[in-house]
């Protein structure tokens, strides 16, 4: 009973650093990123990997990624949310109407949008929990409902059009605006351009006016989600709820509360994307976020999340979004006939995931 633990267990082989790293689901997707990068370095126009090129593909990747991280958290928690794409449109309408139609300042409109999204998310969650139905079917219903309501709401707000404009005018000069739109570190980039570190146009303007704000949000959210998952009790509960919700309940995890909170978080991620894109575009329309739920799930799965729940990582979703964004945008930089676009898209995705998987197995010696 009192045998002390041997310093080194003879039943363990020593393990390389590579194996230890690749075992973490959050890092597996890196192999895919590297592969895709190498592929495009070889085939794409050099413009793709200039500062402006990178920012160019990182912007959609970041918008997708914010959703994907929310979706990944929810998937790890064992549920789906198919309504996030529609939520982007609906929250966008809510936000645009708040600023344009009601003329509210951002300091009210933005929190209101988040609260509103969280409410819708909690309704989703509540129905799923109470009815015991699969979240797939419940949130699917909300996919349609929210999309439909966005259309109806837009027509109401504009008197017949499906596009609500004027957000840029309405929010111009608001002190909160720089946190949700435009580019950050404009000064830095101008300075870098002066020094010749980032490219400039022929007229001397920097090609990149700054770092788009969504990229900063993307990184912050990825770090935050990783922190929550790996270092907080809530993270432990999320894994438990998704791994086996029965066992988790029996072990004292408040599974219902966890799942409803996750639905709210996911909806808030959608609202954030909505606010950013609406402020950037200055307008919203009823098609915003179309099929984004799908892409978000794709990115999360590329990043190693299991559809069955209980396994995955936010950093994985981060890299998954980058892979997806890079492939979608990157193919435009290549010389391939664009008719073949979808074939390449599918092929690249498959190869990236297979590669990532093969590398992981090889390194960790798993079979």
């Amino acid at each position: 009973m009192s045998d002390s633990s041997p310093a080194v267990d003879e039943r363990l082989k020593s393990e390389g650093l590579g194996a230890r790293i690749m075992k973490r689901p959050e890092l597996g997707a890196i192999a895919g990123v590297i592969l895709v990068t190498v592929f495009f370095l070889a085939t794409a126009d050099a413009a793709m990997f200039t500062t402006s090129g990178i920012i160019n593909f990182m912007t959609p990747a970041a918008q997708l990624g914010i959703l994907a991280i929310g979706a990944a958290l929810l998937m790890i928690g064992g549920e789906f949310d198919l309504s996030i794409g529609s939520m982007v449109a609906f929250a966008g309408l809510f936000f645009a109407a708040a600023t344009v139609t009601f003329g509210l300042p951002l300091v009210i409109a933005i929190p209101a949008t988040f609260v509103f999204a969280a409410c819708v998310g909690s309704i989703n969650g509540f129905i799923v929990i109470r009815s015991g139905l699969p979240s797939f079917i419940v949130t699917l219903a909300f996919l349609f409902i929210l999309r439909g309501l966005s259309l109806v709401g837009l027509k109401l707000a504009t008197g017949g059009s499906t596009q609500l404009r004027g957000v840029r005018d309405a929010t111009e000069g608001d002190w909160l605006a720089p946190f949700f739109s435009g580019d950050a570190f404009g000064g830095l980039f101008a300075w870098l351009a002066e020094k010749g570190i980032v490219e400039t146009f022929k007229n001397g303007n920097p090609k990149v006016p700054g770092l788009p704000i969504e990229i900063i949000w993307f990184v912050i959210i990825a770090l935050l989600a990783t922190w929550v998952l790996l270092r907080t009790p809530a993270g432990n509960w999320i894994f438990a709820a998704g791994g086996d919700s029965n066992a988790a309940t029996n072990s004292g995890v408040p599974v219902r509360r966890v799942k409803i909170s996750l639905f709210m978080v996911t909806a808030c991620c959608a609202a954030l994307v909505a606010i950013i894109t609406v402020m950037d575009a200055g307008s919203t329309d009823s098609r915003r976020g179309f099929q984004k739920e799908f892409e978000a799930i794709i990115a999360a799965v590329i990043g190693g999340c299991l559809l069955t729940g209980g396994y995955g990582s936010a950093i994985g979703a981060f890299f998954g979004s980058i892979i997806f964004g890079m492939v979608v945008i990157g193919l435009t930089y290549t010389d391939f006939d664009q008719d073949w676009f979808q074939v390449f898209l599918g092929g690249m995705l498959l190869i990236a995931v297979l590669f990532n998987n093969a590398i992981r197995k090889r390194v960790t010696g798993e079979r």
Binding site: D45, S52, T59, P60, S161, S286, T332, Q338, Q342
Partner: protein
């Protein structure tokens, strides 16, 4: 009277929402009971089923768009054989008469594309991209091929998704990877036209951007001289006129004697100002 409109465009598509507004106004003006139906995506099989559903209700008239005469033909013929007057709109001018439609209101997508291409070539374009946000949608494919023919120079079709951010990035990418591109043709103003314009601006090059259909923002850019022009097929009329015709046909047995061309109408800098307000209301 009961009139049913079956189109291939969804109610939340900015273009088709204008058609629907036309339909709604015509319903008000004529007092007819009009319903607008469309499949969830561009889906000819689903659309033919919607036409069948419409025929079953034996309305006093049916308005259809015909992007694929083969696929929709039997359903339309079933209507005409059942004695229901049919007017086609938007697409299908080539097959409308053959299928028994009384007349066609619309513009040929191909011809519109051709006109736009010719105009852009005239503005000095030599190398163009055609931003197609729904590859495989035959109507959009026709716009691109018409554009290709009219433009004459080198044209590359750029397939994209439905997301403005993605479209902007892709147009940026296309501009960055080919320095020669001097013309961008977008197939829908709010979805593709506005982000294409943003990308063109960010590229710092002198690029002509034109778009099919209208949106208030895009029109403002035209007015400001940033964008070249927009092609308006005045789809409001494609919704409005057939309903009015059919209502009058039901009431008085009246019907115009030939097709009504609703467009194309190039909205350039001079004309843009007036269109903006109407576009914001969903009329243009």
């Amino acid at each position: 009277q009961d009139i049913i409109v079956v189109s291939h465009g969804q109610a939340n598509d900015p273009f088709w929402s204008v058609v629907k507004n036309g339909v709604d106004l015509a319903a008000q003006h004529t007092g007819a009971n009009v319903e607008y139906r469309a499949p969830e995506t561009f889906d000819m099989v689903a659309m033919s089923q919607l036409i069948d559903a419409a025929v079953n209700q034996e309305p006093d008239g049916i308005v259809v768009s015909i992007p694929d005469g083969d696929a929709l033909g039997p359903s339309i013929m079933r209507a005409t054989q059942a004695g229901i007057p049919v007017i086609s709109m938007n697409s299908g001018s080539d097959v409308a008469a053959e299928l028994g439609a009384a007349l066609h209101v619309g513009q040929s997508e191909f011809d519109a594309g051709k006109a736009a291409g010719a105009k852009l070539a005239e503005m000095g374009g030599t190398t163009a991209i055609c931003v197609n946000h729904e590859v495989g949608n035959v109507a959009l494919d026709l716009r691109c091929s018409g554009f290709e023919e009219g433009f004459g120079g080198s044209v590359e079709v750029l397939p994209t998704g439905n997301d403005p951010a993605e479209i902007e990035s892709k147009v940026s990418a296309a501009l960055a990877s080919n320095e020669d591109v001097d013309t961008v043709m977008a197939l829908g103003a709010s979805l593709a036209g506005e982000p294409s314009l943003a990308a063109a601006k960010a590229s710092g090059r002198d690029v002509n951007v034109a778009s099919f259909d209208l949106s208030a923002n895009f029109l403002e850019s035209i007015a400001a001289g940033d964008a070249a022009f927009a092609i308006d097929q005045q789809q409001f009329l494609q919704g409005y006129l057939p309903v009015v015709f059919l209502a009058n046909n039901a009431k008085y047995g009246l019907m115009p004697g030939g097709n009504v061309p609703s467009g194309p109408n190039l909205v350039t800098q001079e004309k843009a100002g007036q269109a903006i307000e109407l576009s914001a209301q969903g009329i243009r």
